[in-house]
């Protein structure tokens, strides 16, 4: 009944294909077929946000997203954010604010903050909390994560003024 199938999608801007089984999740396929280790499976239930990646521009939990759904879609992961040696402003802000200890959850936070800042360029604390309630940081770096979001938002506004 269950048979392999080939899916084609755009991964961090590059057209790719993979032969997968229908029960494989996107986070597994990214980890094991494409060696992209940024999105990690932790809870497997969509509660922790560690596996957050973007599909067609919106964050999803990679553990709740069967890889077969990605056929024809655009998938973006934390590995695709940097431009050459230049990290994404959100990544820079996380480093400057010291917004992590072990770093396991960081790629998921960064990917969710990308949507937050796209929809709320200057978010209130309430908006930040609302967007990030599905991302857990077991090291509890939450105050620094709030600082990082504010810093990234300020940088983004400054860049927009200069442009």
């Amino acid at each position: 009944m269950s048979s392999p199938r080939t899916i084609r999608f755009t991964l961090n801007g590059e057209p790719v294909s993979a032969t997968i089984m229908p029960h494989e999740t996107l986070v597994d396929v990214l980890q094991h077929r494409f060696d992209l280790r940024g999105a990690r499976e932790s809870c497997g239930q969509g509660l922790c946000g560690c596996c957050t990646v973007h599909v067609d521009g919106k964050p999803v939990s990679g553990c709740l997203f069967l890889a077969v759904f990605a056929d024809g879609a655009r998938v973006d992961t934390v590995e695709g954010l940097a431009r050459g040696d230049a990290l994404d402003p959100v990544q820079e802000a996380f480093i400057e604010a010291g917004a992590f200890q072990c770093g396991f959850c960081t790629p998921g936070f960064v990917m969710m903050v990308k949507q937050l800042l796209k929809e709320h360029p200057e978010p209130t604390d309430e908006e930040v909390r609302h967007y990030l309630t599905g991302n857990l940081c077991r090291c509890s770096a939450y105050p620094e994560i709030l600082d990082a979001v504010k810093l990234a938002s300020a940088r983004q506004a400054e860049a927009a003024r200069r442009a």
Binding site: P22, H23, C43, L47
Partner: protein, 288 residues
């Protein structure tokens, strides 16, 4: 946390989807967004031979404003309701509800039809659609069917849908422009399924009040609705009378709530009613 092997089909007509479900003899499951189903597959607490993905069926992702009502395709996501990407017939009640479902990544993918069809008693849309007087539509081996949302749920995880029916859409009548609503749910942790939930709508021509998260179908509260029709404002001293009306309604519905659950439901109801009179809604991103 790995799902067992399973077959997957993504039909492009409703008739084909119904045919696939029928020929699987109950071993297939409809997949509309997967935000409850895939966790169940990951945990292996549900096992099926085949997934029938209905997100590619024509019309299931569309929404239409038909004046006196709005029709949402079953696969409209919570996020599209939250952000106003689809028409809102509810004076803001539906976007507010959508924004408090689970977490943003789940809202981006989970669908209103999937949530209704699964019928987890604590899911937000069951009680919300009942309170708004919506109708649920489906297509099955015998053709199209529909029923009021209020009569859709028979028990926890059990609805009027037959084994081979596909929920296709929801028709939601437009609230009166002067309608005022309040909704409150109690979660220990933001985003988790609620322990208790209440919705109150005050409008000319009939108030509506429902309890959700009841371990079964949402409970309509006719005595509370009568009381709401007569209220001109909310005062904390009204809470006792509201609680008595709620208790009478729950008993009249042949249902029972544990002491703790009754207390939680009463609290949610009082806060929902207060909110319909202008009390500030709970802050987003905070557990109740």
């Amino acid at each position: 946390m790995k799902p067992a092997p399973i077959a997957y089909v993504r039909p492009d007509t409703v008739e084909r989807a119904v045919g696939l479900l029928s020929e699987s003899g109950g071993e297939a499951k409809v997949l509309a967004g997967g935000q409850s189903l895939v966790p169940m597959l990951n945990l292996r607490i549900a096992a099926f031979e085949r997934l029938v993905d209905v997100t590619g069926l024509p019309g299931l992702r569309s929404a239409s404003d038909e004046g006196s009502e709005v029709r949402l395709g079953a696969c409209v996501t919570h996020e599209r309701i939250q952000t106003g990407d689809v028409p809102d017939p509810s004076n803001g009640l539906m976007p507010s509800t959508a924004s408090r479902i689970a977490y943003q990544a789940v809202r981006n993918r989970g669908t209103i039809g999937g949530s209704l069809a699964l019928a987890d008693p604590a899911a937000d849309w069951l009680a919300t659609m009942a309170a708004l007087g919506a109708a649920i539509e489906w297509v099955g081996p015998d053709g199209p069917g529909s029923c009021p949302a209020e009569a859709f749920v028979e028990a926890a995880y059990t609805t009027r849908l037959g084994l081979y029916d596909v929920l296709t859409g929801i028709r939601i009548p437009r609230l009166h422009p002067d309608a005022r609503w309040g909704t409150y749910k109690l979660c220990r942790k933001t985003g988790e399924f609620a322990h208790a939930m209440a919705i109150a709508i005050r409008q000319p021509g009939g108030c509506r009040a429902f309890l959700g998260a009841t371990e079964g179908a949402p409970i309509r509260l006719p005595a509370v609705e009568d009381m709401l029709a007569g209220l001109r404002g909310w005062d904390a001293s009204d809470a006792a009378r509201l609680g008595e009306a709620m208790a009478a309604d729950v008993a009249a519905a042949g249902r029972s709530l544990s002491d703790v659950h009754a207390w939680q439901s009463r609290t949610c109801l009082a806060r929902a009613v207060a909110m319909s009179f202008g009390a500030a809604p709970p802050r987003l991103g905070r557990a109740a």
